[in-house]
Structures are given as structure tokens and as C-alpha cells.
């Protein structure tokens, strides 16, 4: 993509500008929380539990208190009456169960990594040294680590609760009036196809480790935090600690990534606040990478059982989804709601007459889970897109044909789905046609067949993902109906400075998204001013007092809409002044490209001149306040629904099991793009993150509940060396629910790519009798699947006699075999029965 010459006059919206924030973010020469140095600042080191579940019988802090430069040591006993309980904002059912969630554990720890004591010292090193001297006695308790065992309540993660089930949630289309009863469909169906998929546990692994500084020395407590949600944090801290909200100022300076991992109110934020208040001095906490992997919230971690009722010709009749979702040890800010964000998305782009979604939220003695890029929708998209491809193979249809047979046709929008959403716009045919054209689908199918027939050891696989997702969280009314603890609006204000420059204040809180550039483009076009004249301010509750922050691909469609709404108010405010100065009737004033003109004449006045006129205030209409500034709050009327067709080509080395991605085509419909270059960047980054779930990442615990993947040596993130150049394009059906026609793009790549990759790998080896491999698709797992399939095939049909994909059914085994085979290949213990870690690791 070429970058436009920034000096030519053209519309800003739609222009692929490079981001104005890049220079400082890429060089790192900016204000990260950990850069902050305040006079007399103290430093925190946390002492964390090595045990997954244990009673704290004694903590001896005397030696640590005597250590050089130590100011104080705090334990749970010291703060138990003032630390409150960390908030969960989303009780998904009225009888949701949850344990108290202390910032510092008081008498029991429930996961390895939980804070048990805090050392406050004059230097980071003194704090770390003294933390080694804190002596904690534990009595170990039985820990529950395996999600299925936890759901069976064999061992209880929190004995006082009496169960590991935090919440049981059901959604039935026949009860909400959107469809039939899925049990009827299953009973009467020609084909009942059942599969179980595993969403492994992931770690958000943002680039900047979390950091918090609290300065208690002014009238307000000032907290700097590497957070996605300064506004939510302020409110929640006030509620948790009983501090007046007006006494709290939260600043999110430049934040180095989040991916949902910084959508949280953390123990360490509370701890740093308590430490600052206790000592009366500024205090800083910055986590190590090890602490970040261990104790910052994790993501995903579900078992998904899907039952599809269908006709033999591929027509879908009903879908039943049963989930087990691992909460980990506690409920964080939206932990409980994450699986529910997928409740309406399993039906995806398909017209399914009946639908049921059932979810059990389950506690285990592991790090708690919460939002991670996509939050609920990647899980749903993975399961349905895997299911459709597996189902196609089962009935002997091309996986794309099954999709085309069942998807919502473009002329059917707006479309009310079986799960209760209304999709406003979309064109799956167009995106798919473009993707197939770019990919060379037919030719690659032929090459795939050639390699198989030639007996080559490196096989080709083609993976499809025709995804949709829900962005722009969210209409406040809908959130209320879902028992979410807040609204989904966003706020913006515009300050017209006397020199004609403009400050845009946004409640969105960027942490890498490029809001400063995109919002400037929006305002530059709307008010007809140069891009360079617009400054975007955010991330400080004193500067941007109202906001709902950044997550759920909401910033542009909700926050951007608020900015446009505020800009429109500025125009409306300026019109009477323009009329006054131009001695015209206000109804005759027109506004275009920054100029207010009298209809039918060439007399006019620029918006900058009007800003100056209000500053001087020498000559205003009667009753007009001397200001053009305006603010607006935008509450969306609906979610937005990006979609797209992604096609992946992989090579599977059958000798080693290694998967190599060789081609990836992503055609996304995100509606109109304000800045196509930023959108493209979001797609690329999202793709890598989703591909990484498929191939590389997994948080693994051993049988004792210790995180084995506790560093980047074992938590294998990809680098540029592991990826390929993606081929991307966009089709456009504008969203109808916001002025821009934008749909949101922050999570699309992540949501779409994971099933595309797994579908491709399974497609490469399906003719060998393999219908699932558990993520991440390590070479070992792929190789072992091939080995065990080979053994089964020898007993059944030789691989060479299996029909090839594309010209005949390649899976004509009964559906019970599919399920059995899936369990054998991907079951919890079958892959590496003699390896450590074992049970808790669920390898």
C-alpha cells in the first residue's frame, strides 16, 4: 500500500496516512508509566504464592522490615479491612457465585502467583532483595486444575463456595422467540453431527509490562497505570476502596499494547494505591515479564461441544452449543462475561432455524482468565468454522459449498439471527468471490490432489474461515439487558482554540490503535481544517473526564461517532455567529470545507475566524455564550458486524509434523475505513495473533499447578521470522448504524485466522483419517496424529484407497467414528501420555 503525499488537498477520511504517534511509540521515546520518576518515590516488590491452593499459616516479615532501605511490608492481614474485593462488573446470572477477590491474599491462596505480601522500599533492588526475606508458611490444599474435572466438582477450588460452578447460562431460540427448539431439530434430523473442540489457555503477552505509579501528595490521588481503561479504573477503584471518585485522577500515558490484557482492575493497582496512602509517598510497581506471564490475566480456555442437526444435502437445521469455560481462580472485571460474548456468535453467518447455547463458568486453581483479543467471539468463530468444515467432509461436500448453501444472502440484510442479533449489512458472496479469486482456489485443490497421488511427503491443506463478529461494544440498553455493570456509550469534546487550532478530547483510550491519527482525520474532514491543526487528547481523567475506554473494537464506531457528533455541534453553534457576522439569516448559512457562506453568495467566514471571534467575544449575537466548544456522548443503537473470507494454504511435513504457512488471503468487510493503512495494520497484527493460537501459543501448567510456560523461552510467541506476507483486500458494505459506515477492525484478524489455519492443517491430512488436532498444532501433535491415524487406517481402509478431497466424499465413516476419532487424536491425555507435565497441562 502506498502512503499518500500528505501535502495534497484531499479528503482525509479514506486516506492511508502514516500514524502521527509512530515516531514516539516506535522509538520508545515517550512517557510509559515505568519512565516516570517522582521525588521521593518508593518501589514495590510482590511476594507471590508458589502454590496453586494453600492455607497461609504464618507470614514472618520481621527480617524483611529490617533490611536496608525498606520502608514497610504489607500482608493481607494488614489490609484485609481496607482492600475491598476486586470488582466483577458482569454477573451474568442472578445467582452467580464468586469468592471474595482480595488484592493481597489474607489466609488462603487460590492460584500460584497470587500476592501474599508486599515490600515497599526506597529502591527497586532493595524491595526485591527484601521480598526474598519474607518467610511464608503454607499448608497445601488439594488444587483443581483440569477444567472437566473442575466441572465435576471432584475437588473444589474455593471450599467455601461448595462448587466450582460460578454460573450456568442458557439461551434458547425457542424461548426468546427467534427460532425453533433445537432438541426437536436434533431428534428429526437426517444427520446429527457432534464435535468437541478445545480452546487452549493463552496469555495476552502485551509488549509493555504492566506498571503503576500512585502519587498521594496532592488533593487528589494521581494514579498512572498501563491500562486500557482509565475511566473504568477510576470508578471501580472508588467503589472498591471507598475513596471518593473525585479524589482520584487516573492517567493512562502511552500504553504499550493490551489485547484485552489491560482491560482490568488489578490487584497491583489496588496494592500500589494502598502502599502510597500508607506511606504518604509516591510509589511505583512495575512487573517483571515473569510476573506478567504468571499473574496478569489469561485468556480463552474452554471446552466446546457442538451438535449440528442438518439435512444430507448440507442444509443446517439446528445448532446446540455446550461450553465449559475456565474462569481460573477468581472473577476479574469481565471474566464471567467473556464466554457470553460468544453466546450470539456461534450461529455466525449461517441461517440456522434453531439454536441453543449453554455455558458453565467454572473455577479452577489457575490464574484467572478475562478478555483477550476477541473475547468470546474467537472461541465461537473457531468452533463454528471448524464444525462447518468437518461437517462438509462428513457429508462429502466441499467446505465452501456448505457455507454458500447456508449463509445469509446479501439481499437478506438486515437479518435477524436465531441468537437474537440484527445484522445490519454484509455481503458474504462478494468477500468470498474476491478471496477465491486472489487465492486461486481451484488450482490449489488440483495441486493438493497431485501431491497426494504422487505420494509426496509434504502435503497441502486449504483452510477456510468465513467469519463474522460483533464490534462496537455496545448499545447501553443491550448491556443492561445482559446484566453488564455499565453502559456502552462514548464521550468526546472539541475545543476551538483562538488560533484556529483544535483540541479533540476523547474518552477512548488508545494503547497502540492510532486514535490520534484517525480522530484527527475525522475532525479535519468534518470541520474542514488541516489535519495538522488537530490535536487529540486522551487517557487522563482530568483532561478527558468522561469515557468508556478502548476494547471490543469499539473505539472508531462508538468513540469516533462521538467525535463526529461533537464536531457537528460545533458547526451548529457556529452558524448563528456566522450569520451575525455576515449579516445574514441563519437559515441561509451553509457550511462546507471549513467555510460558512451565505447561500447563493461568495461571502463567507472561516471556522477559525469564528473561533477567534468567540475568544474576543467583542461582537456576538445576543445571548450567545462566547464559545464554540462542544461535547457529545454517543450511544450506539446496535453492534456492528464486520465479516470476511480468509483462505489459508499450509504445507504439512508428514515426516516431522511441521506446519508451514505458505499463503494467506484475507478479504475483510469492515465497512468504510477512515484510515486504510491503520486498518491494514490491525488486520496484519490480528492475523499473526490468531495464527499464533493455532500454531504456537499455550499456557501450560504442571500437575502441581505451576505455570510451566513462565517465560518467553517456553511461551512461544512468533516473530516476523515466523510469518509470511499476507495478501489482503477489502470489500465494502457500509454499516448502517453509524455516520461513518464503519464496522470496527481491531479483532477481526485474530477471530478469523485461527480456524482458517486449523482447517487447513486438518484438510491436509484428513484423507489419512484425521479430523482434529488440538491447538497449538505443534509438530509433535501433528506427527503423532498422522502416526496414530496410520495405524487405524491399516486396520480399516488403506490411505491410498481413500477418495481424494474434491471429487468425492473423503470422510464416509459414520459420525460416531468422527467423534471417536476426534477424541482419540485430540483428547486430553492421548497425545503425550508419558510426558510431563501431565493432567493439569492437558497437552
Amino acid at each position: 500500500m502506498t502512503v499518500a503525499d500528505e501535502t495534497t488537498a484531499q479528503a482525509e477520511i479514506g486516506r492511508p496516512r502514516r500514524r502521527k504517534e509512530d515516531a514516539r511509540l516506535i522509538t520508545g521515546r515517550t512517557k510509559w508509566t515505568d519512565n516516570l520518576q517522582l521525588a521521593g518515590m518508593l518501589h514495590i516488590a510482590c511476594v507471590r504464592s508458589p502454590f496453586a491452593h494453600a492455607t497461609i499459616t504464618a507470614i514472618d516479615v520481621e527480617e524483611a522490615k529490617q533490611a536496608p532501605n525498606v520502608v514497610a511490608v504489607l500482608t493481607g492481614q494488614d489490609v484485609k479491612d481496607i482492600q475491598g474485593s476486586l470488582p466483577n462488573a458482569w454477573p451474568i446470572v442472578a445467582d452467580q457465585k464468586a469468592p471474595p477477590h482480595p488484592a493481597i491474599a489474607v489466609d488462603r491462596v487460590a492460584f500460584a502467583g497470587e500476592v501474599v505480601a508486599v515490600v515497599i522500599a526506597r529502591t527497586p533492588r532493595a524491595a526485591r532483595d527484601a521480598a526474598e526475606l519474607v518467610d511464608v508458611d503454607y499448608d497445601e490444599l488439594p488444587a483443581v486444575l483440569d477444567l472437566k474435572k473442575a466441572a465435576a466438582d471432584e475437588v473444589i477450588a474455593h471450599p467455601d463456595l461448595g462448587t466450582n460452578i460460578s454460573a450456568h447460562f442458557e439461551l434458547h431460540s425457542h424461548e426468546i422467540g427467534t427460532g425453533g427448539n433445537v432438541e426437536d431439530a436434533i431428534r428429526d434430523a437426517e444427520v446429527v453431527f457432534e464435535r468437541e473442540y478445545r480452546q487452549q489457555r493463552l496469555i495476552p503477552a502485551f509488549m509493555e509490562p504492566r506498571s503503576v505509579v500512585v502519587d498521594p501528595t496532592g488533593e487528589q490521588f494521581v494514579m498512572w497505570s498501563s491500562t486500557q481503561v482509565p475511566h473504568i479504573l477510576r470508578l471501580m477503584l472508588a467503589l472498591t476502596l471507598g475513596v471518593p471518585e473525585s479524589k482520584l485522577r487516573i492517567i493512562a500515558p502511552d500504553v504499550g499494547g493490551g489485547f484485552g490484557g489491560k482491560l482490568q482492575v488489578t490487584p497491583e493497582e489496588v496494592i500500589t494505591f494502598l502502599a502510597a496512602r500508607h506511606t504518604g509517598r509516591p510509589v511505583k510497581w512495575t512487573e517483571t515479564r515473569s510476573e506478567s506471564l504468571l499473574a496478569a490475566h489469561h485468556g480463552r480456555d474452554q471446552w466446546q461441544r457442538l451438535t449440528l442437526a442438518a439435512k444430507k444435502d448440507g442444509t443446517m437445521l439446528g445448532l446446540k452449543v455446550e461450553l465449559l469455560a475456565d474462569m481460573g481462580a477468581y472473577l476479574g472485571l469481565v471474566t464471567s462475561g467473556v464466554p457470553i460474548l460468544g453466546a450470539n456468535m456461534f450461529n455466525a453467518i449461517y441461517k440456522i432455524p434453531s439454536y441453543t447455547f449453554i455455558c458453565d463458568n467454572v473455577f479452577t486453581n489457575k490464574t484467572w482468565t478475562d478478555a483477550y483479543r476477541g473475547a468470546g467471539r474467537p472461541e465461537a468463530t473457531f468452533a463454528i468454522e471448524r464444525l462447518v468444515s468437518d461437517f462438509a467432509a462428513h457429508i462429502g461436500m466441499d467446505p465452501m459449498e456448505v457455507r454458500k448453501k447456508n449463509w445469509i444472502a446479501h439481499e437478506e440484510f438486515p437479518y435477524a439471527t436465531v441468537s437474537g442479533l440484527e445484522y445490519d449489512s454484509g455481503n458474504y458472496e462478494a468477500a468470498t468471490a474476491r478471496a477465491e479469486e486472489m487465492f486461486g482456489y481451484a488450482a490449489l485443490r488440483e495441486e493438493q490432489r497431485r501431491r497426494r497421488e504422487a505420494g509426496e511427503k509434504v502435503l497441502l491443506g486449504i483452510g477456510i474461515s468465513t467469519f463474522t463478529e460483533a464490534c462496537g461494544l455496545a448499545p447501553s440498553r443491550a448491556l443492561g439487558e445482559a446484566n453488564y455493570g455499565a453502559g456502552g456509550w462514548e464521550h468526546a469534546s472539541i475545543r476551538m482554540l483562538p488560533t484556529g487550532k483544535i483540541e479533540v478530547v476523547t474518552g477512548s483510550s488508545a494503547h497502540g490503535q492510532g486514535h490520534e491519527t484517525a480522530w484527527s482525520q475525522l475532525v479535519a474532514d468534518k470541520l474542514g481544517v488541516p489535519f495538522e491543526d488537530v490535536e487529540v487528547l486522551h487517557g487522563d481523567t482530568q483532561i478527558a473526564p468522561r469515557g468508556m475506554d478502548t476494547y471490543g473494537s469499539r473505539s472508531l464506531v462508538v468513540g469516533g461517532s462521538a467525535v463526529l457528533k461533537a464536531a457537528q455541534k460545533v458547526i451548529e453553534k457556529a452558524k448563528p455567529l456566522a450569520a451575525h457576522l455576515l449579516e445574514a439569516n441563519v437559515d441561509d448559512i451553509e457550511f462546507d470545507k471549513g467555510q460558512f457562506t451565505v447561500k447563493g453568495t461568495d461571502t463567507g467566514v472561516g471556522i477559525g475566524d469564528l473561533a477567534l471571534a468567540t475568544f474576543a467575544a467583542h461582537n456576538l449575537p445576543d445571548m450567545m455564550e462566547p464559545s464554540l466548544d462542544a461535547e457529545a456522548t454517543f450511544d450506539p443503537i446496535n453492534l456492528s458486524f464486520p465479516h470476511g473470507t480468509h483462505l489459508a494454504l499450509v504445507e504439512v511435513d508428514t515426516e516431522t509434523g511441521k506446519v508451514a504457512l505458505t499463503k494467506y488471503v484475507a478479504v475483510d468487510d469492515i465497512g468504510n475505513a477512515v484510515n486504510p493503512l491503520i486498518a491494514e495494520g490491525q488486520v496484519h497484527g490480528g492475523l499473526v495473533q490468531g495464527i499464533s493460537q493455532a500454531l504456537w501459543e499455550e499456557a501450560v501448567y504442571d500437575d502441581e499447578g505451576t505455570l510451566v510456560t513462565g517465560s518467553f523461552v517456553d511461551y512461544t510467541l512468533p516473530t516476523a521470522a515466523d510469518t509470511i506476507s499476507f495478501e489482503t483486500d477489502r470489500t465494502v458494505t457500509p454499516a448502517t448504524t453509524n455516520e461513518m459506515g464503519a464496522k470496527g477492525v481491531g479483532e477481526a484478524g485474530t477471530i478469523a485466522s485461527t480456524p482458517a489455519i486449523v482447517n487447513a492443517v486438518v484438510d491436509a491430512v484428513r484423507h489419512l483419517g484425521i479430523d482434529d488436532i488440538r491447538m497449538p498444532l505443534t509438530p509433535e501433535r501433528v506427527w503423532k496424529a498422522i502416526q496414530s491415524a496410520g495405524q487405524e487406517q491399516q486396520a480399516a481402509t488403506p490411505a491410498t484407497q481413500q477418495p481424494h478431497f474434491g471429487d468425492a466424499p473423503n470422510q464416509d465413516t459414520p459420525e460416531t467414528d468422527a467423534a471417536v476419532s476426534g477424541a482419540e487424536v485430540g483428547g486430553p491425555d492421548s497425545m503425550s501420555p508419558d510426558t510431563t507435565p501431565g493432567d493439569g497441562a492437558e497437552r
Partner: protein
């Protein structure tokens, strides 16, 4: 990630370094390029009282010819090995293995000697050193001794370098004109080897005249696949003949089991990768 406090000594000669080690005994750790030791210190997995930094000892750096051997100073960074025409011409296998070590930043700081003495079996220089029959020059206060590669690696993270001694140089016999290849198997590019195979072969008239094969991460130490080497000699350079000779690559190995694969899988990988390494070496 702050290490426990330690004293720091930065001698400028081998003699001073040995004196420092003699003075501090068991409580001292030697710092070479720091690519393994620094993370260990930061995670407080080891808390030495004194760190003896060899980084200022010029005599430990550099690559020179010495008769039939190429001698590489222990403190020579990987990047210098890659930049050396001597290494490229006479030690092609070492060149190819070092090119696969981690990433450019680590290759700039990490040293050949540091990696060999650290003796992580997943490290990438042990197997080529074994395969090429390197000799390890170890210096103590009593003088210098030379240890053959077979005797250098003793166990996990354990070598013939005793307390109070330093590895000062490694002598590699020239393998001029040999074909070589380092077949490294990883899931992501910057990872430690899951398994890797170092192969060097001398081909005469379409037949393998000599072969050297080293295995990375197939046991507590780097290993030499002598049975494979012997089986390869005299074999015609065909895929089937090479595959047959390499089938025994994993014999006698005890590879680890970890998140990247269990020991059976590694044994299988070793046979596949050995075949590929030998064929690639013979082809190039």
C-alpha cells in the same frame, strides 16, 4: 528481574582472571557473553558472590590459523565467527550452525566459549564442535591442557573445565572442501533447538568418503552419531542409501521430554533430520 547483589571483577588478562577465580573459589561465576548467565542471575536462579567478567580480556578474542587448525578464542562472539573468512572456508559446519543461533542481537553478544562451557545440550555449537573433532584449550593456574571434544562434555551443564580454570580457546581441525549442513528443528525461529543435526561429509566421485555427524539436544550432552558416520562411509550418494545409514541416528540417545516433544518424537526427528542434514551437506 533484579539480580541479588554480587561483587564484580573485570580482569584484563587471563592470568588476572585465574587469580580472581582462585581468590573467590566456589562463590565466583564466570561471565562471558552473558546470554545465559544474566537471565539466570536476574531470575535469581543462581546468586554468586562474585562475577568475573572476561569481556575485557583481548587475548581471548580472535580467530587465527595454527598449522592444520583454526583456533578460535573463547571470548569470540558468534558474529565474529560468522564474519570470518577462515571459518567460512575451513569450518563450514561451524559457520552454518552459528548462523542458526538465536537472533542477531544474541549473536553479537554471545560467545563461542561461553556457550561451550555453559554446555546446554540444546545449544548449537556443541554438536558441530564434536563432529569436527575440536580440541578444547583449558587454562588453570598450573598451566594449559588440551581436552578432546569427546572428553569435554561430561553431563548436563557440566564440562571438563574445573573450578578455577577457564576455557581459553578451541582448536578446530580444518575441514576444507567438506560439504556441511546444520539442520535445526524449531517451532519458532528464535527458539532453542528441539533437535538439530550437524553434518559434514567429504564426497569423492559420488561416494561418501568421510562423514561427521553431531546431534544437538538428544541427551544430556551434545552427541556424535558414530554409527551413522561409519555406515555412511563408502555409501553412494543416493537418498535411499543415506536414509538407510541414518536410520540408526537415535540409537543410544536419551533425549529429553518437554513441551516441544517427548523423547520418542525426538528420536524420530533425529533420524529424519540426520538424513536431511547429510543429503544437504553432500549437495552443498
Amino acid at each position: 528481574m533484579i539480580p541479588a547483589a554480587f561483587d564484580y571483577v573485570a580482569p584484563t588478562s587471563v592470568a588476572d582472571a585465574l587469580a580472581a577465580l582462585a581468590e573467590h573459589g566456589d562463590d565466583a561465576k564466570v561471565l562471558a557473553g552473558g546470554q545465559s548467565l544474566i537471565p539466570i542471575l536476574r531470575m535469581r536462579l543462581n546468586t554468586p558472590e562474585t562475577v568475573v567478567d572476561l569481556g575485557r580480556i583481548e587475548e581471548l578474542r580472535g580467530i587465527r590459523e595454527d598449522g592444520d587448525a583454526i583456533v578460535i578464542g573463547a571470548m569470540t562472539p558468534y558474529a565474529d565467527v560468522l564474519g570470518s573468512d577462515l571459518v567460512r572456508e575451513h569450518l563450514g559446519l561451524l559457520y552454518k550452525a552459528v548462523a542458526e543461533v538465536a537472533d542477531p542481537q544474541i549473536r553479537r553478544r554471545g560467545t563461542i566459549g561461553g556457550a561451550l562451557v555453559h554446555a546446554d545440550p540444546a545449544g548449537d555449537v556443541g554438536a558441530p564442535a564434536l563432529a569436527l573433532g575440536a580440541e578444547f584449550v583449558i587454562t588453570g593456574q598450573g598451566g594449559e591442557r588440551t581436552v578432546p571434544a569427546e572428553e569435554f562434555f561430561r553431563d548436563l551443564f557440566e564440562t571438563a573445565v574445573e573450578d578455577g580454570e577457564l576455557l581459553t580457546a578451541v582448536r578446530f581441525p580444518r575441514h576444507t572442501g567438506w560439504g556441511s549442513h546444520y539442520e535445526k528443528f524449531v517451532r519458532v525461529a528464535h527458539q532453542w533447538s528441539i533437535v538439530a543435526v550437524a553434518a559434514a561429509v567429504r564426497v569423492e566421485g559420488g561416494t561418501i568418503a568421510e562423514a561427521r555427524v553431531g546431534l544437538t539436544n538428544m541427551g544430556a550432552t551434545p552427541l556424535r552419531a558414530k554409527a551413522v558416520e561409519e555406515a555412511l562411509v563408502g555409501k553412494e550418494l543416493t537418498e535411499d542409501a543415506v536414509a538407510e545409514a541414518c536410520a540408526a541416528a537415535a540409537e543410544g540417545t536419551r533425549p529429553p521430554t518437554d513441551l516441544n516433544g517427548d523423547s520418542d518424537y525426538r528420536r524420530h526427528l533425529a533420524t529424519v533430520l540426520t538424513r536431511r542434514a547429510v543429503l544437504a551437506a553432500a549437495g552443498g
